[in-house]
């Protein structure tokens, strides 16, 4: 059975060009770039070129780029650097819909006595800037906001937040892991102090990420060690990963407009096809301000894991924010923050496309999904007819014991 992969916000395939570029760095150019011989020197040249390519992707300077092991490391390092370099500031602002790579380290800081403000979002997943303005305090060390949400694709107004941060003298960190390759990223205005990317989200390899640190921002390394990355991140470089990341960045710049148009057209076809043929469905996220590749759709009265496993049987890979797929018992914190009703919350599915998604694949999904949802709804005790009256839909739980 052929696989239709629509889970590209989880990870993407390595582009063939990227794979080809990486390959010799495993077997042929395996020297340590820090070595003082020619064999290592040629590797150092490859690293330099990759750094320049990544810098070009976000309009940065090459020496503002730190290679990391992943997006999570970059996010953790940015947060750590912001608080370590401003010991008198004990407050951080973020949003309720961030990735765990942000939320977890911030929760840890809370235990260490820091105050964290988690900004809410509206029903479309969008921030209220006025709330952000009100949240800024004299002792605010950092504003940490994602460029685009990984579940809904909703894009945050990064430039406006950046202006606000600069006006108030607060450092600004952008988790751009999900945005890279899908929307333009530009740090040249100087509004962003830290920005994080991850290679495997835009057809680079896994295990390589980027932390941009604006020139002039005080930085304390998370990984203290050797002099690699100008002393900002110890550890021998993941050379093939960096070469792959650089190639992926080049490729992204080259095909950006074409990819954007193509993905958004296919995404809209998928979304409209579902919303127009299957009743009781809705788009989750902002209708306009969102990534071109992401469609998050809520299917009322059915549960997400059941949909995912039914799709999987047809060779279709997607993702769900339902509790049952996450190992947690609570559904997606992002969808909950948006105030989705329970009738939708557990049955929301994320379809995320890539530059390699084809129209035929989208049509194939549309061909099977309607009867699939119909079958699961036939199984469900919930329906539009009983939504208004059924006590199960009104109550948190129904408790039954034994006499």
């Amino acid at each position: 059975m052929s696989v239709i992969y629509l889970d590209n916000n989880a990870t993407t395939c390595v582009a063939p060009e990227v794979y080809r570029a990486m390959s010799p760095y495993f077997t042929q150019f395996y020297g340590n770039p820090s070595s003082m011989h020619r064999f290592g020197g040629q590797v150092a040249r490859g690293l330099r070129e990759s750094r320049e390519a990544v810098a070009a992707l976000i309009h940065a300077e090459a020496n503002e780029i730190i290679f990391t092991s992943c997006g999570t490391e970059g996010d953790n390092a940015a947060i750590r650097a912001a608080v370590d370099s401003q010991p008198d500031k004990r407050h951080i602002i973020t949003t309720a819909v961030e990735h765990p790579a942000i939320l977890k380290p911030l929760q840890r800081l809370e235990k260490q006595g820091y105050a964290v403000t988690y900004l809410g979002v509206d029903s479309k997943g969008q921030l209220k800037l006025e709330e952000l303005r009100r949240a800024i305090r004299d002792d605010t060390a950092l504003i940490s906001v994602m460029a685009a949400n990984n579940e809904t694709g909703t894009i945050f107004p990064i430039e406006r937040i950046g202006h606000l941060a600069k006006e108030c003298g607060v450092l600004f960190h952008v988790d751009a892991v999900q945005a890279a390759g899908k929307i333009p990223l530009d740090v040249s205005s100087g509004l962003i102090d830290f920005l994080v990317l991850s290679g495997h989200k835009f057809h680079g390899p896994k295990g390589i990420g980027v932390l941009y640190v604006r020139r002039g921002v005080r930085f304390r390394p998370l990984l203290a060690g050797g002099h690699q990355e100008r002393g900002r991140r110890g550890g021998t470089e993941n050379v093939p990963g960096i070469i792959g990341l650089g190639t992926a960045a080049e490729l992204t710049l080259k095909t950006f407009d074409e990819d954007h148009t193509r993905m958004s057209q296919l995404r809209d076809r998928l979304e409209q096809g579902i919303l127009s043929t299957i009743s009781d469905t809705q788009r989750n996220g902002h209708p306009g301000l969102r990534l071109p590749n992401t469609a998050n759709i809520g299917f009322k009265y059915v549960e997400g894991e059941a949909i995912l496993l039914s799709l999987d049987r047809e060779g279709i890979c997607a993702s769900s924010g339902s509790a049952c797929t996450s190992g947690s018992l609570q559904p997606s914190h992002v969808l909950r923050a948006m105030g989705l009703p329970y009738t939708l919350l557990h049955g929301s599915i994320r379809f995320s496309l890539s530059r390699y998604t084809t129209g035929a694949e989208i049509e194939q999904v549309l061909g099977v999904i309607s009867p699939m949802i119909g079958r699961l709804r036939d199984l469900s005790p919930f329906s539009r007819d009983n939504e208004a009256t059924h006590p199960w839909l009104q109550e948190q739980t129904q408790r039954v014991g034994i006499a």
Binding site: E303, L329, L393, Q398, R399, G401, I402
Partner: protein, 309 residues
Amino acid sequence: MWDYTDKVMTLFHEPHNMGAIAPEDCTDGEAIAVGEVGSIACGDALRLHLRIQKANDLILDARFQTFGCASAIASSSALTDLVKGKTLDEALRIDNRAIADFLGGLPQEKMHCSVMGQEALEAAIANYHGVAIAVEDDDDESPLICQCFGVTETRIKRVIRDNHLTSAEEVTNYIKAGGGCGSCLAELDDLVAEVYETPTATTESGTPTASRPAQPVEEEEPVSLPIVNLTNLQKIALIQSVLNQEIRPVLLEDGGDVDLYDVDGNLVYVSLQGACGQCASSRLTLKGFIERTLRDRVAPDLVLETLDV
């Protein structure tokens, strides 16, 4: 992806007995019993329909409607296969472990799906006997431990006891309590400790090592563990002891009581007294509480009957 058995996946994709039973599906002498558990807020819900031959309490048909994941749907299908053709008394012996076993096992994190099946069955039978309100009232008196999923202390203790759970994490897997904000996890640990004592063994080096809790400590003098190959006298003494220490205090709280009348092999004859003797749900009390407790504490093959004396 969860490590589901082939049986779970088969029954998820092609479930048996889905749907509802309507009054027109019944003939004279038959009744429909409905049990509903869960909620859309919790992420899984099951409505079970039983068609019952009233003359002999025989389950002629069973159907389900389930909102939930693959294991919830498979558990519901398994439940309906298990109960069809059984009497209500026989059906009450089907617990969540039987459902999970029927499926070839469930991931630990999904055991709550099997518990939901057991509870829907009990709810249906309770409704059939017209005692659903009493059941909920009883439960409502118990403190609410998990606010996120609305789980009471009574229910948590019962699941701990029935499934020999030993940690808050296991409680969450089986009944969801603690799986939300997590603020009740410490209380769950306390309840586990309350239900069981944790005997410690001492290694040769003298380091105490925790072993699996095995013995309820609801009384100051815990009942001895069931032993293999009990003599008749030992069995009777153990039954009497469990009745006195674990069962009678619960019944006395509700104005009821129970007396041991006789033991004949695996048949245990008791007499329900006071409120229990006149209660419409006395059969449930007998099978769902007294028999289950004695089976857990004395021998798994015990069958309880009441005797009019």
